[in-house]
């Protein structure tokens, strides 16, 4: 469904992504793990064209093109079919929880306001925040903000949702409520690509784990394989370190 080949990105001569290829199938829940600075965020941002790639090919939602040859329409198509949940939520500060969700529906998708509100309420219900619909982001806790962020993404019914460390800005006691929502989404068949440091999530919820380091995909496979029997030394070291710190 989403196929990336040879994706490259560098900042000021520093190669950050050194040729990444990923294949996301419908219903996949993919966890991307790896040390800080390995390029996980950059990967999600270049695929969604929030950052310009320096090379590579994408086939997705009818777009089949080199990253560097994407035109405005391709970019719009790509973004329209990918939902994005940001590490620091990025809710629209001047909009209520409900408006955060209806905004894209009304402005970008041209859905009627009443219809958009219905969709938004349904999305808020899925994340358990119907009672906070009229609150502004500043009146919500971090966990609640992130759940609105998730509701905003699912309301647009994208083909795949990207999560960039959705819980790492949260206080430990608020992580659970967000992970729970993500698990529900995964169970209902939503296609998800999740950059995460939550090893439990990677192990228990995803069907594939990708380990990235230094701008490469070092190895990928089922959670069982990666966690119990990694073939690469780097993966082993990373997992030993991170699991020792939990």
């Amino acid at each position: 469904m989403l196929k990336i080949e040879g994706l490259k990105k560098s900042y000021a001569g520093n190669d950050i992504l050194k040729g990444i290829s990923i294949n996301v199938n419908k219903g996949d829940v993919i966890s991307i793990i790896g040390p800080s600075g390995s390029g996980k965020t950059t990967l999600l941002r270049t695929i969604t064209t929030l950052e310009e790639a320096n090379g590579g090919h994408i086939s997705f939602a009818g777009v089949d093109n080199d990253f560097q040859k994407l035109n405005g329409k391709d970019i719009h198509t790509i973004r329209r079919n990918i939902g994005f949940v940001f590490q620091n939520y990025n809710l629209f500060n001047n909009k209520t929880a409900l408006q955060n969700i209806t905004e894209g529906l009304i402005v970008a998708r041209k859905v009627k306001k009443s219809e958009a509100e219905k969709i938004a309420l349904k999305a808020l219900e899925r994340v358990g925040l119907t009672d906070r619909q009229n609150h502004y982001p500043s009146q919500l806790s971090g966990g609640q903000q992130q759940r609105v962020g998730i509701a905003r993404a699912i309301a647009l019914n994208p083909q795949v949702i990207f999560f960039d460390e959705p819980t790492s800005a949260l206080d430990p006691e608020l992580v659970g409520e967000v992970l729970k929502v993500m698990q529900d989404l995964a169970n209902s068949g939503t296609t998800m690509v999740v950059v995460t440091h939550q090893m439990n999530f990677a192990r228990d919820v995803s069907n594939r784990v990708i380990f990235m380091a230094d701008g490469y995909i070092v190895e990928q496979g089922s959670p069982k394989k990666i966690f119990e029997n990694p073939s690469e030394e780097r993966t082993k070291t990373f997992l030993t370190d991170i699991l020792a710190n939990v």
Partner: protein, 264 residues
């Protein structure tokens, strides 16, 4: 020394005709310079070629010269410039137009800087979030970024307006009949300058106070999305009272949610 109170009342009556003049200068200058200030700020932020250089030059030109010099230059340059274009009619132009020009040009420079810094306070994640829900950059700018920038700009716009009100008193140099000019003329008959200036002083005080109240209300209305904190020391309604107005605090959050938010 005693004040001639009868004279003060008389000046107050005549000088009140200058109030609309002062207000007109302020409003015209503000209404024209607000949109242009936004435009210039955008030119600087998006670093639009050539125009960026122009805006930079313009802003430093205005900010680097005293307003009195700007007034003198406009007032001596424009009439003769117009004279060559439209002939003698140029000297019949109501001098208030020159005041409009000077104070607008001046406010544009101030407001460009005000909007530039306000726009930069809006997190760039707001734009990215807009793009990722499928909105165009322009739509995201006007619906998400600009409203937030406007609110954080309000205190500085208020400041700029107060300066504008006070600076407009220099319009008398261009023989505009504003509050100051009228009072001066009255005073010149009997040399009651102190009385006349005290009246001027009170008028400006009242006008500035009203402007402050208006901006305070605007700010309060538009920042409804910001979490009201307990006992905000907002604008003090009564200039001579010690009591601060209390703004209702939102209390339906649990303590842990509060602390959590504070850390984010």
């Amino acid at each position: 020394m005693s004040l001639d109170t009868d004279f003060m009342v008389k000046v107050a009556y005549t000088a009140i005709h200058g109030v609309p003049v002062t207000l007109k200068i302020v409003l015209v200058a503000l209404l024209i310079s607000l949109p242009i200030g936004v435009l210039f700020a955008l030119i600087r932020i998006y670093r639009i070629k050539v125009l960026e250089q122009f805006v930079k030059f313009y802003v430093s030109l205005i900010r680097g010269t005293p307003i009195i010099a700007q007034i003198l230059i406009v007032y001596s340059a424009f009439p003769s410039l117009l004279n060559t274009i439209i002939g003698k009619a140029a000297f019949d132009i109501n001098p208030i137009y020159y005041a409009y020009i000077v104070f607008t040009l001046n406010s544009i420079a101030t407001l460009t800087e005000v909007f530039r810094s306000a726009l930069q306070t809006v997190d760039k994640g707001q734009m990215e979030a807009g793009l990722m829900v499928g909105m165009k950059p322009r739509q995201t700018f006007w619906r998400i970024i600009f409203p937030q920038a406007l609110i954080s700009a309000l205190p500085n716009i208020a400041n700029a307006t107060l300066y504008l009100i006070k600076n407009s008193s220099l319009a008398f140099i261009m023989s505009v009949k504003d509050i100051t000019a009228i009072a001066k003329t009255e005073a010149a008959f009997n040399y009651n300058f102190l009385e006349a200036y005290l009246v001027v002083w009170v008028y400006y005080l009242i006008i500035c106070y009203c402007a402050e109240v208006i901006f305070y209300l605007l700010e309060r209305y538009f920042s409804k999305y910001r979490r009201p904190t307990k006992k905000t020391t907002g604008f003090n309604w009564l200039p001579f009272s010690i009591k601060q107005p209390e703004i209702e605090a939102k209390t339906d959050l649990t303590e842990s949610e509060r602390t959590n938010h504070a850390q984010n």
